[in-house]
Amino acid sequence: MSFGDLGFAIQIAFTYYTVIYLTGLGGLFSERSGIVNIGLEGMMIIGTVTGSFGAYYFGAKLGWGVPMGPIMGLLLGMACGALFASIHALATVTFRIDHIVSGVVINLVAVGLARFLSTVFFEGQSTQSNPGQPHMHTIDIPLLHSIPGIGRAFEGLSPFVIVAFLVVIPVWFALNRTRWGLRLRSAGENPEATRSLGVRVAPLRWEGVLLSGAFAGVAGAFLSVEIVNNWREGQTLGLGFIALAALILSNWNPVRLMGAAFLFGFAQAIPLALRDWPIIRSIPEQFVNMAPYVITIVVLAGFVGKVRPPAAAGKAYEGSSGL
């Protein structure tokens, strides 16, 4: 056992934290506005393929290079995630389809759409793009990266990881200190009361769902552009669902979500970085690979009864013409 492994594990955990936290924030905006979003995974998938295309197109084809290519990739993934989420908004807010049915369909459609887009984007390759696309220059965190033993955790991070740690400030402020945030939350708690105050519920819920697509999309784009450096089918690995579990564990709170996302991010790192640790070494490889999933199930089962989801989440608001 060495601390070097632990540093490496934490570094990987930061990466997965970024994906899980941003996607979880997406779920948070949607669910606090009253729309359950099982389709986060699908929105991430769209983010991975369009983000990768953005980085490739703007970076290599148009010659915008680093870091503008990757940044454009992230922005494109974000925009396309939101665009794709509009299907969920249309189905759940406007047509009042069951939220879970729509989310499941979103996930199914995303897999096929990603393949189709991939053949259009990447010269007929349907399941991956060319590897080794440019990414932003990685950074070391001053001071922290020289901590003996676990300093490696703070080396070679994508700048976007820092963004994922700082984004909590504007998100918390928007939710808790602005009129819009108050209205968004009230749409998820008590839409009838919201409506009775003359505030329209449907636009708020549309905004919540579009934001969830934007966050999930940029998280997916981060995965393909910054971490893997190309698009591959199935690279989201169910992280959209793990983000949902993290959201539940956080009790729909953006600050606590950071801790939950890091916990599940660390679980992802176990099979990747801690394989040589004493006890883990003696377990067959395939069982170590199960760790992230098992930990998610155990944590979810242990906590789900102790948290309270937004009261009106999952319920269609049938007010006058659904407004």
Binding site: I38, I87, A91, F95, R96, I97, I100, V101, S102, V104, V105, N107, L108, V109, V111, G112, L113, R115, F116, S118, T119, V120, G124, S126, L237, G238, F241, I242, L244, A245, I248, P284, Q286, F287, N289, M290, P292, Y293, V294, T296, I297, L300, A301, G302, V304, G305
Partner: protein
């Protein structure tokens, strides 16, 4: 002085048709409309891509229907999808989402393979039935975990079953590396690629030759078995107490509880039946196509089953037709590639559009039907009140 005769009230009743007919016409109308929408949107994509919609749709249909072995391929593709969609639909009756059919069918393939390899002393067709039973039991046991977690802790089955799917992939990998390891690998070949071949009497016999179709599509007796499963699910849902309770729970868990139904027990029973059906999803590739468990097994059948279940509106008979429609499109993929310049992935897009439009159209049709019923009830009430006032 004689009272004036009550003049007949002037209220036009909505056209009155028997309720089952109205239901049926509504569903049929929604299905036809959503298929037209999907074909139309698909045509727009094809035109944007610079191809001719008639050529593209023609290629799909010619390859899957008029080609020689086409129908046999379509039916063999549809076979596992029927099991998978039935598994989804029986849970959905109670508002449960068994997204874990994917993992349950993988585990079912492992337990069935174990039975095929280790119980090969069983005589004749008995071995095949035991292997099928083990497949169903494997899926059932694996479905029990999220079911119990749901009932005991409230952990949402969508998240737990998705995680269980991830675990199942590792279980297959472990089985191919350990307990079911290939023993007779030729030198130089990777040993974790597949299991040993199964005994002949573990396999499901071919059905295609009965209709004069070649052996290549591997149409097997699993198709009739899938139809039997369809009938059983129909019977459970429509004629048994469990089906009634499931629908009550799905409609409103509060009133179901007030009506004395033990919701947890219903949910666990449905999940177990669903898991058993899911355990049979992999049998077509295991016992019909291959005769061994390979590392590169055909995955995602569990997810496709969700789409087929929605397409069939969770109705057992609808599911059979939906599975065939899905298989026609899936088989048509190859036709696209051979006969047109459209990427074969277009079919997946078309399938996605189809599902989305079916779900939305059907929901709108159901709401329209409900509104009509409310209107008619109100009109009838008005009639009665008017008649009472007149009397």
């Amino acid at each position: 002085m004689a009272t004036a005769p009550a003049s007949p009230p002037k209220i036009a009743l909505p056209k009155s048709r028997p309720e089952w007919l109205e239901n049926f016409l509504g569903q049929l109308g929604a299905l036809v409309l959503s298929m037209l929408i999907a074909i139309g949107l698909g045509a727009i994509i094809i035109i944007l891509y610079g191809e001719n919609p008639l050529d593209v749709y023609g290629a799909i249909l010619s390859f899957s229907i008029t080609a020689n072995d086409g129908p046999a391929y379509v039916l063999s593709i549809a076979t596992p999808l029927i099991f998978s969609a039935l598994a989804i639909s029986i849970c959905f009756k109670a508002g449960l989402f068994n997204i874990g059919v994917e993992g349950q069918f993988l585990v079912g393939m492992v337990t069935a393979s174990w039975a095929a390899l280790r119980l090969d002393f069983l005589p004749g067709p008995l071995l095949m039935w035991v292997v099928l039973l083990f497949g169903a039991l494997g899926g059932m046991a694996y479905a029990a975990v999220p079911a119990i977690l749901k009932v005991k802790t409230g952990a949402h089955e969508v998240v737990t079953t998705i995680m269980m799917n991830g675990i199942a992939i590792s279980i297959v990998a472990w089985a191919l590396n350990g307990p079911l390891k290939f023993t007779n690998a030729p030198p130089g070949q990777n040993v974790d690629l597949r299991t040993d071949p199964f005994a002949k009497n573990a396999l499901v016999p071919d059905l295609g030759h009965v209709f004069g179709w070649g052996p290549a599509p591997h149409l097997s007796w699993l198709l009739p078995l899938a139809l039997v499963a369809t009938a059983i699910v129909w019977f459970i849902v429509k004629r048994m107490r469990l089906g009634y309770e499931a629908r009550a729970v799905g409609a409103s868990s509060g009133s179901a509880r007030a009506g004395g139904i033990s919701i947890g027990a219903v949910q666990i029973k449905l999940f177990l039946i669903s898991g058993a059906l899911a355990g049979l999803v992999g049998m077509q590739q295991l016992l019909g196509d291959r005769g061994y468990l390979p590392k590169n097994y055909e995955a995602t059948l569990g997810f496709t089953g969700i789409a087929v279940a929605f397409l069939g509106q969770n109705n057992p008979i609808g599911i059979v037709f939906a599975a065939i429609l899905w298989a026609i499109l899936a088989r048509g993929e190859s036709g696209l590639q051979i006969e047109t310049d459209m990427p074969r992935e277009f079919v997946i897009i078309l399938q996605g559009i189809l599902i989305m439009s079916v779900v939305i159209t059907y929901q709108l049709a159901k709401r329209r039907l409900a509104r009509r019923q409310v209107r008619r009830a109100a009109a009838e009430e008005e009639l009665v009140t008017a008649a009472e006032e007149a009397a």
